[in-house]
């Protein structure tokens, strides 16, 4: 058997991070899908590996770079900066000890965009059928929905909108958003 080759694979995201004004491609992150049964009225932990799971369905708790978005009654998308996931996994396991749950790493599955500025909601509404006004979808909201022909997760941690989609859909989502943003440039 030959000697192991001492090189480390480098990440090649489908879209390079960019900082264009209205539609930003965000850098890589670590992510998990956490699932556990959460019947109505169940008390959910506010600290699990540094994530607050206690928010209601379709809400997000946390900071822009580290948050837990509750997308289903028993489903959370956990996002944290790249590299922090390694420690997160055992921490969640320990904090949720005694509960039955499923934790699956999906850091490479998604790509993410950030939309900010006065027309962020208008741009998103080119393809999203939900009411994204401050009253209907205020900061702290999160949901899975459709943008054009693609499923996305829309998270509002703070004023800006963070949009996540599966890796291979990212070029479509990016092109779609840029087209919608054109008239506001």
């Amino acid at each position: 058997m030959p000697e192991p080759v001492a090189i480390h694979a480098r990440r090649a995201p489908i879209l390079a991070p960019s900082a264009s004004s209205a539609v930003r491609v965000l850098p890589a992150a670590d992510r998990f899908v956490l699932q556990m049964k959460a019947p109505r009225g169940a008390v959910l932990p506010s600290a699990a590996g540094g994530f607050d799971l206690s928010g209601p369905l379709n809400s997000v708790r946390g900071r822009p770079e580290r948050f837990a978005a509750r997308l289903g009654p028993g489903e959370w998308l956990l996002v944290c900066p790249e590299g922090e996931g390694t420690a997160t996994e055992p921490a969640i396991a320990s904090d949720l000890a005694g509960r039955f749950f499923s934790l699956v790493a999906v850091g490479h599955r998604n790509a993410a965009f950030l939309l900010s500025g006065p027309h962020a909601a208008d741009i998103l509404n080119a393809g999203i059928a939900l009411d994204l006004s401050d009253t209907a979808f205020p900061p702290g909201s999160a949901t899975r929905t459709l943008l054009g022909k693609t499923e996305v997760v829309l998270v509002r941690v703070g004023e800006a909108f963070r949009l996540e989609c599966w890796r291979s859909f990212a070029p479509y989502v990016h092109a779609f958003l840029q087209d919608a943003a054109r008239e506001f440039a």
């Binding site: 369905l57 379709n58 997308l71 289903g72 489903e75 059928a129 949901t143 899975r144 929905t145």
Partner: protein, 95 residues
Amino acid sequence: MLLVPCPYCGPRPEVEFRCGGEAHIARPADPDALDDAAWAEYLFARTSPKGVHAERWLHAHGCGRWFNALRNTVSDAFITTYEMGEPRPDITGGR
């Protein structure tokens, strides 16, 4: 486009959903106990009433949950939606 009242998420646009046909048709606990005709009935026979119909809906591009709905197939009005496993609500009260 319908506005479908997901029992978990509230009213959401139809594009997020998939309709799964008639509700309250449980898979037989022991399929072998059914003769061919009864099995075929379970597999294929569905009612298609004009009026209130109990349907399965999936909030596929939302919370991901299946639920049941009473929908008027004439007016498209959703009378109510309820979680899987709950019995069909009694709506004889005039709705």
